[in-house]
């Protein structure tokens, strides 16, 4: 795994709070991009979707939806904006394996294999979100984003992390999800479940988590109207 080489030319702007990725796709080549995150593109770029039947994860069992953009008759530029605010990082995989929280996937070149039905770690108590991990392997570029600022930790020993803050980690790290301090702590401490990592490897964390924001924004959401459907 390297940081100093990339298959396609790219630039990241707006770091660290509203990071934006621009990739120059070489003529005839294709880029995998998280669905719904294309912000700008040259007119010679063609989009193809691999999704069947829409976004519903219950239909497909997927937690990660990817479209493919190809540059025809010349190179093409595409600008990608993730939905959540935060930082972004790039790694060049050389047959390494990275486990990535599926909401963090931004884009990848075709040689990177993204298995998105990997596993669900836990269910958030209020957010209803399970933490899904995607397994990325192969050779090529991988871009991922964080919600909030990004912290890269070299783990050597034991490290406890609130699960909502996990972005990615390398193979070689063992992890165990559990509660902290008994059931009273689980509900009232607001920490939800924690993940204890052990071993040696690299861990990417994000400083914010979706569950806390979901709770905060709850009173601002529209209220479901009672009775009668279409007036």
């Amino acid at each position: 795994m390297r940081n100093d080489h990339s298959e396609y030319p790219y630039k990241m702007q707006g770091k660290p709070d509203f990071s934006y990725l621009t990739v120059n796709i070489p003529a005839g080549q294709t880029l995998k991009v998280e669905a719904g995150s294309m912000a700008t593109m040259d007119t010679n770029i063609r989009m193809k979707t691999k999704m069947r039947g829409g976004f519903s994860r219950f239909l497909t069992g997927e937690s990660l939806f990817i479209n493919e953009f190809s540059a025809e008759n010349g190179p093409g530029e595409i600008g990608i904006a993730p939905g959540s605010p935060g930082d972004m990082d790039h790694v060049y995989l050389e047959n390494d394996i990275i486990y990535l929280q599926s909401a963090a996937f931004v884009a990848a070149t075709m040689g990177v294999n993204v298995e998105s039905k990997w596993q669900g770690l836990m269910k958030g108590f209020f957010s209803g979100e399970s933490l899904f991990l995607a397994r990325c392997s192969g050779v090529g570029d991988l871009w991922f984003n964080t919600y909030g600022a990004m912290m890269e930790i070299e783990v050597d020993g034991d490290y406890v992390v609130d699960t909502g803050h996990i972005v990615a980690f390398t193979e070689g790290l063992e992890y165990r999800v559990g509660k902290v301090g008994g059931y009273k702590s689980l509900f009232f401490s607001g920490e939800g479940l924690v993940c204890k990592f052990s071993g040696k490897g690299r861990l990417w964390l994000q400083t914010r988590q979706l569950g806390a924001f979901a709770n905060w924004v709850y009173p601002f959401r529209p209220v479901k109207s009672q009775g009668g459907s279409d007036d």
Binding site: P16, D17, P85, G86, D87, F126, G148, A149, M151, I153, G157, D158, Y159, V160, V161, D162, H165, V180, G181, K184, S185, F187, F188, S189, G190, E191, K196, L205, T207, R208, Q209, A212, F213, N215, W216, V217, Y218, P219, F220, R221, P222, V223, K224, S225
Partner: protein
């Protein structure tokens, strides 16, 4: 204890280095990561009324309950990273006996020797339209506060008007009045400013550049309805 504020001002977090068996109190839900041997104990400060687990959870959803976690390091000391719900800045204050009034959403952590009181009734949250309550914080020790947006101090020497959604904390010695900003009530409501807080006297108001409610309504209106 040593507190470093990192990733300022856009997505601030606090890195706390604790000495052996030292402890820090933080708002529930703020922990990002910590050393493997850290102990956590939870206590709640309720804004009036018991009601058991379900009532507690409901209050948590409406922002009215206040859960605190006490983190105590093991015998080798420990490290703890604390986060915030909203993006923005953080600041560290060293209180030497004074009292400050703090917006509840801005409280991150404090050391032993700091007292937190939920009983402050100065602002009726109904008037400001925020689902926010206020903490009276006093004592000797460190306090870490966060803001939505950038933090800037506004020295008050006489009078100054601050939209209530922009207040992080202020010296208890300041007087204040909930008032209208323009020359008539019509202006107040149609102009969008609603009611504001007019501070009088001498002291500091710590302001945040952005108003959480304004952002909350912008995002909330695009989300699916809640049950």
């Amino acid at each position: 204890m040593h507190i470093d504020l990192i990733f300022q001002p856009g997505n601030s977090a606090a890195r706390v280095a604790l000495g052996p068996n030292e402890s820090i109190t933080a708002e529930g839900g703020a922990m990002i990561a910590m050393s493997g041997d850290m102990a956590i104990e939870t206590s709640t400060k309720k804004r009036g009324g018991g009601g058991g687990i379900l009532a507690g959870l409901k209050r948590m959803l409406s922002g009215e309950s206040f859960f605190l976690n006490h983190f105590t390091a093991g015998s080798n000391g420990g490290e703890l990273f604390l986060a915030t719900t909203l993006p923005g800045d953080m600041m560290q204050l060293d209180l030497q006996g004074e009292t400050i009034i703090v917006q509840s959403g801005s409280f991150v952590a404090c050391s032993d020797g700091i007292d937190i009181d939920l009983g402050w009734q100065g602002f009726k949250s109904l008037l400001s339209g925020e689902s926010v309550f206020w903490l009276k914080i006093s004592g000797h020790g460190k306090v870490v506060l966060s803001s939505f947006g950038a933090i800037y101090p506004q020295e008050v020497n006489g009078e100054y008007i601050v939209d209530s959604g922009h207040i992080v904390s202020f010296d208890e010695t300041l007087q204040f009045k909930i008032t209208k900003p323009g020359k008539s009530w019509l202006n107040a409501f149609l102009g969008g400013e609603g009611l504001v807080c007019k501070f009088e006297g001498q002291g500091t108001v710590w302001c945040q550049s952005h108003n959480p409610s304004s952002f909350g309504w912008e995002v909330g209106s695009l989300l699916k309805p809640r049950a």
